[in-house]
């Protein structure tokens, strides 16, 4: 199960599994946002290459327009996946406290 919703300010919350099944929904949601987005991944359990592709595409679009993407409350498993893919060098990441 995957859920994505807007929170206070420019914050976006993701929960559940961001995989190939849910990636289209996530992409459609994020395409509606501009500027600098903060994604709270506190409740995100799982991410695959499809989910990373959504984040990368969004990051490139926002960066080209002068904005960016911040990822906060990233848990250890998601951090590990970022490490495998090299994305830990690309995104502004704040680990979960």
């Amino acid at each position: 199960m995957f859920d994505i919703s807007s929170e206070a300010g420019d914050s976006i919350s993701m929960s559940g599994r961001l995989d190939a099944s849910s990636a289209p929904e996530a992409q459609q949601f994020l395409d509606q946002h501009d500027g600098t987005c903060t994604i709270d991944m506190q409740e995100l359990e799982y991410i695959s290459s499809a989910g990373l592709g959504v984040l990368l595409k969004t990051h490139k679009r926002l960066t080209a327009a002068g904005g960016g993407l911040r990822l906060v409350n990233v848990n250890s498993h998601i951090s590990e996946i970022f490490g495998y893919s090299g994305f830990d060098k690309l995104f502004d990441i704040t680990p979960a406290g």
Binding site: A20, S21, Y46, S48
Partner: protein, 590 residues
């Protein structure tokens, strides 16, 4: 990447390159010179041991050279799925000596030919289902059969030591001295010689031993002088025995076993030749291997039809390609042409037949020694666990016992004895049965079949999670398992494209502490193992290679074996605590 691949920067002409024709012809001739003795002597030994006349021997040699040459060309220039596309020289297979002698004694060349034709058809089936059989016929089984072949054939070599011309009047010890000199030369060159001398050692031993024997009066060169330089053998085609007697059916299993073991040898050679023929790092192309095995089968079929012993790939050509740095296809084409031309030179055949018995016996002795050692290496490569040791030991001694008619021989019906008296057949069947029993002990594997569609992903993930938990995986390891499955599964979905009928079989099993996922599907174009191996450090982030980066950093092992009719993609994942433990320094060394 193997050590060979790491060192293949020395390749002067790779498989697709086109070196000068003269160089190609000379290198082809070099390999022919190295393997000619084996191609000619093996059928001569088998037919002589069975008491065949000179006409039959000459015909068998003619057929061996002709078919070896033709199939060498076919290996280099494939026709459809038959042929590897690489330089794989073909020559008479020594593994068939024992079963061939038995067939020749029972029914002459016609029976032998029929058995070879029938067993060659099994090889085509084996090549087609190579992906399936590769796990059933493992190196322990193959190595056991190879060592049994060596044990069965060695007495023939010993017997040849005492072959002398009928009118020999020299010292009684002459054969012993000749054999000793020949053996000393080949052993010294093998131990102290460099790689080149080691390759040429058997040929040098034959030449020097023959000269030594000539001075002792052990040679009869009259037939060499009488033989025409160019011509056809005097004998005619022996025909096929199509009676399908009891003898045929009791002997067929032995031929099938040797054929399959020979196919396994070609399987290994098909992988090895790729390693020395291509620049850069590449996983083996198993379609090439299938092509090599198919060509080997075609060689067996044609050998049976023409009336000679079957042939197989000679590893010598792989060694020469590695040494010279030249593995261009042209070398195989020229070498094959040279072999075929030599078939039409009775004088060449007569010259090789004139090799004195003690010298030829030493050549065969050393050939069998190398075969025996190869069998041991195969067994060791599979890991000499207790179970594999039981398979090898029981099969070896069962084969030895039945070969020597030492095991309840008088109690068995004659038909059963005819089957079991061939030690290689008995030992081979024993090894396959024991290997199957051992496989029952291994971890149970779980299977699911799904459509290659993103919509099937939840079902596949649920399968992996459920079975992973059943195999004891917990906590953070389960998302890692799911991630590995998803990435490999989506690779298959991309491969399927718009094909709505594309199905994937997913298998999960434990391999020691690790979990292995295997995906079996229809063939595709790209090789995932090669793609992952070719990954460059991250310089530009792209959606296209995220999956490859995850797989390359997360899984322990990726194997992608692509055959003509099926793909086998397997990945292995290690539990996190084992990974961490392997990264910690050894506290005992602190």
């Amino acid at each position: 990447m193997s050590e060979n691949q790491a060192e293949n920067s020395h390749i002067l002409y790779a498989v697709d390159d086109k070196p000068p024709h003269l160089l190609s012809a000379l290198l082809g001739f070099q390999v022919v010179a190295l393997i000619l003795s084996g191609i000619v002597l093996v059928p001569l030994i088998a037919l002589s041991a069975a008491g065949a006349d000179d006409g039959a021997k000459n015909w068998a040699v003619f057929g061996a050279l002709l078919i070896s040459g033709a199939i060498t060309i076919l290996q280099a220039k494939p026709i459809g799925p038959i042929g590897s596309g690489y330089v794989l020289f073909m020559g008479t297979s020594g593994a068939f000596i024992a079963v061939s002698i038995a067939a020749l004694k029972a029914g002459g060349l016609p029976l032998l030919s029929s058995l070879i034709v029938a067993s060659s058809l099994v090889q085509f089936l084996f090549a087609r289902r190579l992906g399936l059989f590769r796990k059933i016929i493992n190196p322990t089984v193959g190595g056991t059969v190879v060592t049994l072949i060596a044990i069965a054939v060695m007495p023939i070599a010993f017997n040849m030591f005492t072959h002398i011309p009928e009118d020999f009047a020299g010292p009684a010890a002459a054969p012993a001295w000749t054999a000793a000199v020949s053996l000393l030369i080949v052993v010294l060159l093998s131990i102290f010689g460099n790689n080149k001398l080691r390759l040429w050692g058997p040929v040098i031993a034959v030449v020097v031993g023959s000269v030594f024997a000539h001075f002792l009066g052990l040679t009869d060169l009259a037939p060499v002088g009488e033989a025409a330089l160019i011509g056809l053998p005097e004998a005619s085609w022996p025909g096929l025995d199509l009676s399908f007697s009891i003898t045929f059916w009791t002997m067929l299993p032995g031929f099938i076993i040797v054929t399959i073991i020979g196919a396994l040898e070609t399987y290994g050679d098909g992988i090895a030749i790729q390693e020395v023929s291509r620049r850069g790092s590449h996983p083996p192309d198993y379609k090439v291997v299938q092509g090599a095995v198919n060509a080997d089968g075609m060689g067996n079929l044609l050998s049976g039809l023409i009336g000679t012993l079957p042939n197989t790939t000679y590893s010598t050509s792989i060694s020469v390609a590695d040494l010279t740095g030249v593995s261009a296809r042209r070398v195989g084409i020229y070498g094959g042409i040279i072999l075929m031309l030599l078939a039409f030179s009775p004088k060449v055949s007569a010259l090789l037949q004139a090799i004195p018995g003690p010298v030829a016996g030493t050549f065969v002795f050393f050939l069998i020694v190398l075969l025996f050692v190869h069998g041991i290496r195969l067994i060791v490569s599979d890991g000499l666990s207790f179970d594999n040791g039981v398979i090898f030991g029981v099969s070896l001694w069962a084969g030895y016992g039945f070969q020597g008619q030492l095991v309840f021989h008088d109690m068995m019906p004659a038909v059963v004895n005819q089957l079991l008296d061939n030690g290689m057949t008995t030992g081979g069947i024993t090894a396959v049965i024991l290997s199957f029993l051992v496989s029952l002990k291994q971890s149970r594997s779980y299977r699911i079949r799904v459509s290659a569609d993103v919509a099937s992903l939840p079902e596949a993930v649920a399968f992996a999670r459920g079975r992973g938990e059943a195999l004891g995986w917990r906590g953070a390891d389960l998302p890692r398992l799911e991630l590995a499955l998803e990435e490999a599964f989506l690779y298959q979905v991309e491969k399927a494209g718009q094909d709505s009928d594309f199905q994937i079989q997913i298998m999960l099993r434990s391999v020691g502490e690790k979990l292995e996922l295997e995906f079996v599907s229809a063939p595709g174009a790209e090789n995932l193992e090669a793609l992952v191996a070719g990954m460059e450090p991250v310089t530009d982030f792209s959606e296209d290679d995220i999956r490859l980066r995850i797989l390359s950093n997360m899984v322990d092992e990726i194997s992608h074996q692509q055959f003509n009719n099926q793909d086998y993609l397997s990945i292995q994942i290690t539990p996190k605590d084992i990974l961490i433990a392997n990264q910690l320094p050894n506290l005992r060394d602190a």
